[in-house]
Amino acid sequence: MINIDSYAYSNHLKKIHPGEKSLFAMITLAVCLTSPTVITPLIVLALMAGLIIFKAGIPGRVFLKLLLVPFSFLVLSVLTIAFSISTDPSGFWIAETINGLTIGIRYPDLNTAAQLFLRSLGAVSCLYFLALTTPMTEIITVLHKLRVPVIITELMLLIYRFIFVFMETAITIKRAQSSRLGYVSLKISYRSLSRLFSALLGKVFVKSQELYNAMAARCYTGEIKVLTKKYPVNLRNYLLIIGLELPLILINLLGRR
């Protein structure tokens, strides 16, 4: 997760307007999910992989690894859809019959499974595109502009910041403990870990108090108002989005028999 985050700040597409990237990712996601065939998801997957690796300059290895995260989960669920067990051996495409029970794959099921698999992978690649190229703070700003309730965007802003503060604290405590042999045996590990959690809890409390004080010192009045660096709006990008999405939508429509 930290890795994704660092790439979001250092990729070649970081200077592109976050609204354009979000729009592109979301439309493609919708097109991919509503596709009746496997062609659109395949194109989407290739498109996103190309953009992430060649345009954003993120190593292909990283993208592959990220795709593998949902992979095992996807394979499992796809297998349960593809395989069926029945007492009636008819209609199977590949099957094995043992003691009157037929285990196998029916052709329409295989089709559904493949479609589901590719659609999910395509959708995931859209989200990765957004996550790898757009910093969280920018996404929050986009949500704010889309009139998502302030309470949600403010919470996201603070939570996002504090995930890192606490992770750093936890890592520091863990390191301090290990360097004093806090994790040499299972029993000691349990004790150290419980201390880590209680220390962290105390920190959360103190830190939140300090944060409130620091914000109050800067005239906080109950609403977090911030400015975000302006990004240039690029008409070409909008045309590009339309140019890419229209054919995909067309393919979807043609595939709907």
Partner: protein, 290 residues
Amino acid sequence: MPEIILEAFNLDYSYPDGTKALRTINLKIEKGEKLTILGSNGAGKSTLFMQFNGLYRPNSGSIKYQGQAISYKNKPLIELRKKVGIVFQDPDSQLFSSSVYQDISFGPLNLGLSDQEVEARVDQALIDTETTDLEYKPTHLLSYGQKKRVSIAGVLAMEPEVIIFDEPTAGLDPRHAREFMQLLKNLSDEGKTIIISTHDVDLAYSWSDRLVIMSSGEIIAQGEPGELFLQPELIEQADLALPWLLEIYCGLVEKGWFPTSTPLPKTREELLLILPLASMNISPIPKDSK
């Protein structure tokens, strides 16, 4: 008579857990002065700073801004905080946003300025603290000193009358510490009142108009830096050390390189200026003739 801008009057403060952090503090701060607060760890410096813009409320006594005891109601507190800014000791508790730009824009936006004005101020603060190239980095990937500079920028952008810095140079490398002191000089020339706390005695000695020394919640001395540092008992009591300039100066006077009446050098240059040249071939003044 110089104008008193901030004043602590008979201030007492205990933390909820019973720690008596401040005891009968009386301190007057003049408009436009450069004040340094020295004191060992736990002396109460940070606690005192929190009193100055109403973040903590004293148990007894009061804080006065321009002669008026401050009110702890919402509106007047905000007015006070527009005038008195604090840069906290720990940048991690001050930075609330992961975006450098967003964090710096927070304060000036709360002043009710226009977006354009805020942008101009943020850009200026980024330049003043040399953080322009960090603008696109998230705060969690910054080093400690970089975070410190961003948190300083966040308060500078509000342009308060009185700026309080809690250990501003701790964690800064020598170059950035020096540049920060230059920034403080510029702010001071603009007429801002500046209060800092530090453990750096050299800095305290060279930079400040006036020193305040705290020990276990009390002010044990205040006055001219030269005057205070030449009192060995005081230095001992407050766990301080002598600035190197004074140490050398005292040594040279001791060895008779110049008379005791020589004014104290405030900077390295001043010390070099009063040092006699070796080519002048003067031998040390004999000890008994002094």
